[in-house]
Symmetry: C2
Subunit: 358 residues, 2 copies
């Protein structure tokens, strides 16, 4: 059976009506729309056809129709119109990205919060996973009496730091010396290569003050592993409570359990694999059984053509795809723009590492 223009219009109308109302839509309410001038009976016939094609379903015999996963898919792929963001939304976005010159993590979190506010849905953010986590440079800086800061940068330009609490005061020159020793021994190594044997070497190089060394190694290791693991977070989780889909606590718990488990969530995002463009996972397309009634829209953000991280929106399958997709693409584009601009031509985040400096 062919999906002619009239069927397409009807399907679109049904999907959009359902997205708004959350209630199965009947033939009468569609026949009332002025754009298609048809009686309820005709609509009913068409609905029957659409159901046969697997695009619609009935919760029960005497109910209206509800889009199936396939129906939403058809809508998203070829029916819906692009939503234009309002001036207010654009303004909100601008504000979230205007506090420039910050760390990547803070920028992304701010953007996620703003987007969650606009969509009224939870937003998932993923920060870059570095490649291999190769230590490029380590620096120890005296900050205060009894406190030094350890700054580790890796080859991909990510920077992590840790405070180092000491039992005794150290001189600035000792900090410099320590920096040098650490760099000589650890620069160029990956996290897995930093182990007891390096530690021994460094210990002998220092020759004294064993306690500081142990702490330092511990902290370097910790900082590097943080670089190594991709970070993931969720903002605006409680937004979903507004949807009738989550009127039962069991449903809420099901979703929360997935979203609070970073491991699982990370797997989900990676499986969605939005390598180079916005990806939409609808209902039954979701890889986790617990999420079969939800949808995920996810898109990458970049800094001059290189993938940096991901931003996603999760919600009921009955979400406003048009707004969400347009919005997400707008936001990731903005984010990419900010990152590309702010971090200069030779990207701080992306630079592959050339010379060392200590």
């Amino acid at each position: 059976m062919a999906l002619d223009d009239r069927k397409r219009l009807i399907l679109q109308a049904i999907v959009e009506d359902y997205i708004n109302s959350a209630e199965p839509v009947g033939s009468r309410s569609i026949s009332k729309k002025p754009e298609l001038n048809l009686s309820a009976a005709t609509i009913r016939n068409e609905m029957g056809d659409l159901e046969e094609m697997g695009l619609l379903a009935q919760p029960h015999t005497s109910a209206g129709r509800v889009p199936t996963t396939g129906g939403y898919r058809m809508y998203v792929d070829s029916l819906m119109e692009r939503y234009e963001m309002t001036a207010a939304e654009i303004e909100k976005m601008r504000q979230a990205t205007s506090m420039k010159k910050q760390e990547l993590e803070k920028i992304v979190r701010d953007v996620a919060a703003a987007f969650s506010g606009i969509t009224g849905l939870p937003v998932i953010g993923m920060l870059p996973a570095s490649e291999a986590g190769v230590v490029k440079n380590i620096k120890v800086v005296k900050v205060d009496d009894y406190t030094a800061m350890l700054i580790v940068s890796d080859k991909s330009g990510i920077i992590k730091n840790r405070l180092l609490k000491l039992n005794q005061d150290i001189s600035e020159s000792f900090a410099d010396e320590l920096s040098q020793i650490l760099n000589q021994n650890l620069a160029g190594l990956t996290i897995s290569e930093i182990n007891i044997s390096n530690m021994m070497e460094i210990r002998s190089a220092i020759g004294h003050n064993f306690e500081i060394l142990t702490s330092v190694i511990e902290l370097v290791h910790e900082a590097v592993s943080e670089i190594d693991s991709k970070q993931i977070f969720v903002d605006g989780l409680s937004n979903i409570l507004r949807f009738p889909e989550y009127s039962s606590v069991d449903k809420v718990k099901e979703l929360f359990d997935v979203l609070e488990d970073k491991e699982n969530l990370s797997k989900l995002i990676v499986e969605a694999n939005p390598t180079n463009c916005t990806k939409v996972l609808i209902g039954e397309e979701m890889p986790l059984d617990a999420l079969k009634n939800n949808s995920l829209v996810i898109a990458p953000y970049r800094a001059s053509d290189r993938l940096v991280g991901l931003l996603g929106v999760i919600g009921p399958a009955r979400m406003d795809y048009s707004r969400i997709i347009s919005g997400l693409e707008f936001f990731t584009a903005q984010l990419s723009g900010v990152l590309t601009k702010d971090f200069g031509t030779r990207q701080i985040l992306l630079e592959m590492g050339k010379g060392d400096e200590t």
Copy 2:
């Protein structure tokens, strides 16, 4: 009417039964307990008395009794026995605090997560609010080509840092120069005192490179304001979904709305004001109407006698006070121990500031 020993025993039994079952407890189930050898009828008489005293209430005439706020209060203040933490719980705690030598924030977050795991309740953590946020020392360190790190420490020893992305490479000596200029102009000032006029002064001191300066000032301001505002966070929020008290989404939303609003939450915590010991707010004692069915247990943690921050547990009024209170005191004591030990005799966090060094 006096609260004799028998009444106390009965009240205790009722409260504990209700904490376990979440259902109004009837006279029969209490009379079955071997420790008080009484018939249901006798228990009923006593229950009537306890109700008259405002310690129990009936949801409706033919239901069992439920503790009132006053009943819980009596239980917490003078009836309950101290819960002894199990070896497994202590081990979990030990692990959470064993990754020492970290930043305060990370330690507290780890402890909160561990405690949330043990209690199965949301845990609220509050990090120190500094006094006035006086800048003690500012340091600019070159980290990488095009990147420098700005490290601001305040008089109370809190340290914040910001990455500084540059359009051009800078030399280490320029970073040092910048550090010196910033210190000369900003050390000793509070956040509100750092404004346009200082900025002008510094600008004239540098004499060139206006763009870097603007960013630096912005970041200093940002870092100092972060010191100035107390940080607050909630861990394990989804735990509450397990309780029948939150079987309706409205109830969940009510609680979530309060806990997601950091402003409100902060006010709540401050009003609870657990100045020097564990404080329990029960049901109607809660300052917010939306929380009249919840309770909050909150306790301070310290570093050698000086208040550092707070840790709290929030949940239904029907919470296991004995476990929660014992656990929280154990945890805050551990935390205080770690902080006191790790940060040396002259506390890094608490030191009032003596000399400067650049």
